[in-house]
């Protein structure tokens, strides 16, 4: 975060410096001497500002190979007419600001995108609105850039012929802030991209993931909302990811979860809210993750643990009215649950120390039964199931017997 | 008034009525007699439609009875056992029955006659057997229907009430009503009835006046006459 802030500060200084340099601006409009953006870019000198007036510009393959500011204050539209990449950036310190960009056109061989940034740094892409795209903004081997205030309205239906709204590949130190990403394949996708900050975004109705990490380390995402995606966020094969104050909600479906963690080590999951997801967090092969101050409310499964997970710590979380709080598929447990609030806890606190006097067992026998025979879910909340759950909690036979919260909180964590 | 044709009724394997034919064309008081379990109550309840017979027809005033039971507006019935909803008061019960039938009734007179005034606000569950029977009588007699059916009307009554009952029956008879009575008290039967219907083994064994019964059995006393029938049949 601090790195990003510093970087932003330097950037602003840099921009204002280039303005004060007093380059002449280039204007592009239907009645100007320069009628196309392509021509504008061609004529512009490094660090010059190109102002595009209102209108629809039917252009594609706009190659920016020098530091430039391409800006419109009148929401000029660039229509790529489904021919391929619309803007390609191959230079540092490029700013793209204010455009509507439409009709990227899809391909089975090339990842066409509205804006492609290749091997560049210190870019600023902001205030755009993208529609009818394949990929939205594609970063490859780029660093120290900002993407903000972007609205992407995709129309993805199937995974194989749709692209991601914001796609990072081998790109580090990128800030992605305050964007609204709707109906693409992934809202935001990071592959081999480290030290990025993703904040204040809304990602919804994307058919795969709202946010997707692959082989990316030390990234941080906070204060985002992931709603009604195929699955909220997938974090895979990554290390030291910080996940803070995000909202994961209404991610419904048979393979749907708020958050998927797969082969993740040393992450922090703090202050997030998981509400009404089929699975709040689906965990597979994770180690040393701290879950703290999260709220799991009315999910099908708050936390579903598959496969080997070691030394994960759950503390001060609220588990509220989930159909199942925690589900395990094995009897082995090496994770710690301590001082959480469980709405299903029926114990008492006679010594008034704020902690229940008897431990809480969050894994129910019935969750084990449902894992094995999914149809049995129809019997949830029946008296018979309550009875078998109760007898299991008295003497665990199928569920991990050391998995319990010894100090369940009596009051919700605020 | 009442006509029964070939009435059959059994409870499980237990045949109660096996072809009862009975015609009561006249006005007057008819005592239905018979040993225990001979089907007196079953027959009465068939007339009332409370028991559904396997076979046979019942006509009231020339019309076959309809399962919807609306013909019961011409019938007053005194059940054998005076059972009432326990948490109702006497007055409420009378009011309710009046409301359900939707006809006029002269309950005041009868309440006076049986001295029920002090009990009007009491709950029925708190009343003695005799008092309940008096309430039962009030309910049976308060409507002015042409047919009255009394199943064991004397049970639990004190002598004063008994006298009143007899007087009441006589009064109703004078109005030209048809009254069916079952009773085990022969003196009572002898005193009030015009004709006797004797049920035996699910059939009408005898129908006629007491005088005719005496002649038939050669016994002077009604009780003995009946005993005579029973022993003769068993022999």
């Amino acid at each position: 975060m601090t790195k990003a802030a510093l970087f932003r500060f330097l950037f602003i200084v840099f921009i204002s410096f280039s303005f004060s340099n007093g380059f002449a601006q280039i204007e592009v409009c239907k009645t100007c001497p320069i009628k196309t953006i392509k021509e504008g870019i061609k004529q512009a000198k490094p660090h010059q500002k190109i102002i595009v007036k209102e209108g629809v510009y039917k252009e594609y393959m706009l190659i920016i190979d020098k530091p430039l500011t391409l800006i419109t204050k009148e929401k000029a539209t660039i229509d790529g007419e489904n021919k391929g990449d619309i803007i390609q950036i191959f230079a540092d310190s490029v700013t793209i600001d204010g455009f509507h960009i439409i009709h990227v056109g899809s391909s089975h061989t090339t990842d066409y995108s509205a804006i492609r940034v290749d091997r560049s740094s210190h870019f600023l892409i902001q205030n755009l609105e993208l529609r009818k795209i394949f990929f939205g903004i594609m970063l490859a081997k780029s660093k120290y850039g900002t993407i903000r205030n972007i609205k992407v309205f995709g129309d993805a239906v199937q995974q194989h012929n749709s692209g991601n709204a914001i796609h990072l590949w081998h790109s580090n130190h990128v800030l992605i802030d305050n964007n609204t990403l709707i109906k693409s394949r992934d809202g935001i996708y990071l592959e081999f991209s480290d030290d990025c900050v993703i904040s204040n975004n809304i990602s919804r109705e994307n058919i795969r993931y709202g946010l997707h990490f692959m082989f990316s380390n030390r990234d941080e995402y906070r204060n985002n909302t992931f709603e009604n995606n195929g699955a909220g966020v997938a974090v895979m094969f990554s290390k030291k990811i910080k996940m803070i104050d995000n909202h994961f909600q209404y991610n419904w479906g048979s393979a749907s979860y708020g958050l998927l963690l797969k082969e993740i080590n040393d992450a922090e999951i703090i202050g997030n809210t998981f509400e009404q997801n089929t699975i709040g967090i689906n965990v597979e092969g994770t180690n040393r993750i701290n879950y703290k101050n999260n709220t799991f409310k009315r999910n099908g499964w708050a936390i579903k643990v598959n496969g080997a997970c070691y030394e994960n710590v759950f503390t001060h979380n609220n588990f509220l009215y989930n159909s199942f709080d925690v589900s395990y598929n094995s009897r082995i447990n090496n994770n710690t649950f301590n001082e959480n609030f469980w709405s299903g806890y029926t114990g008492y606190d006679l010594d008034k120390n704020g902690f229940g006097d008897i431990p809480y067992r969050p894994v129910k026998l019935f969750s084990y039964v449902v894992n094995r025979t999914p149809n049995t879910i129809i019997l949830m909340r029946s008296l018979f199931v309550d009875i078998i759950d109760f007898s299991e909690s008295v003497s665990p036979a199928f569920t991990p017997d050391n998995l319990m919260d010894e100090r369940p909180l009596m009051k919700q964590v605020k | 008034m009442i006509k029964i044709e070939n009435l059959h009724k059994k409870y499980g394997k237990n045949k109660i009525l096996t072809g009862v034919d009975l015609e009561i064309p006249e006005k007057g008081i008819f005592a239905i007699l018979g040993p225990n379990g001979s089907g007196k109550t079953t027959m009465i309840k068939s007339i009332l439609g409370m028991v559904v017979p396997e076979k046979g027809k019942i006509f009231i005033d020339g019309k076959a009875t309809h399962p919807n039971g609306l013909y019961r507006k011409d019938l007053d019935y005194l059940p054998q056992i005076a059972n009432f909803p326990g948490n109702l008061g006497v007055k409420e019960l009378i009011k309710m029955i009046k409301d359900l039938r939707g006809t006029k009734a002269n309950e005041e007179e009868l309440i006076q006659l049986f001295g029920l005034t002090p009990y009007l606000d009491k709950k029925l569950s708190n009343l003695s057997g005799g008092t309940k029977q008096k309430v039962n009588l009030v309910l049976a007699f308060m409507f002015d229907s042409p047919i009255i059916i009394l199943d064991e009307p004397t049970s639990g009554l004190d002598p004063v009430a008994m006298l009143n009952l007899k007087r009441l029956i006589a009064k109703e008879k004078a109005k030209g009503k048809t009254i069916l009575v079952t009773s085990h008290i022969m003196s009572f039967v002898e005193e009030i009835s015009d004709e006797i219907v004797f049920l035996l083994e699910g059939k009408i064994y005898f129908k006629g006046t007491i005088q005719e019964l005496r002649e038939k059995t050669g016994e002077v006393d009604l009780e003995h006459a009946i005993a005579n029938i029973l022993t003769e049949n068993n022999a």
């Binding site: 009215y321 094995r372 029946s382 008296l383 199931v385 | -």
Partner: protein, 260 residues
Amino acid sequence: MLKILKYSFYDLIRSRWSYVYLAFYLLLGFVLLFLNNDLSKAVITLMNVIIILVPLIGTIFGVMYYYNSKEFTELLLAQPIKRSSIFIGQYLGVALSLVMSLVLGLGIPFVLYGLFESSAIWDFSLLLVTGAMLTLIFTALAFNIALYNENKIKGFSYAILLWLFLAVIYDGLFLLSLIIFETYPLDKFTLIATVFNPIDLSRILILLKLDISALLGYTGAIFNQFFGTSLGLMSALGMLTLWVILPVWNIKRKAQKKDF
């Protein structure tokens, strides 16, 4: 019939048991709300209670009322009133007084705790509708049992057995058969088996509200169509209505043939 209904109803609302029942629900409502002060949570707890308790109370009350009002029934049978009116009237009298106790007993505490300003109002309404349906169904089943059994003790035993079967044993057998035949496609079986038990049906209604996130985790297409759309709610309500109509119709049928 309305007159019979009126008298049965008045008779019942003056009986001690109705007050006990009402008081029980008042107490339950207040205690639940006092303990956690959270309407949503109280609604969830109540749902678990209602699904089990309402059928039990409906059954016992139904059987009890039938046997206790034998005298009243006999009195009525001698009156110029249709038999179906007598029995359906009495049935409705019992069922509606129970429904009233339920609605008032739970409604008063929840309204006092600010139900109308709460988002739990829909869940709560569903709860009351389900409770009312279950009362209607189990009172009708109880009347059926009582009509077929003159013997009080037998009638009571059958009633309790019926409740025990539908509330617990049925689900146990259901669960077992699902686990034993887990290798077969069981979607249809599952839905059909649910339909044959009104308690399960009501539970489904409640699951649709509370656990929709978990239900949608199941992959079966039929399941998803059933739970994912309003089809589930509609058909569950429809089947529950059928569960009311059939026993009531049988009360009518049996009452026409019965001797008193």
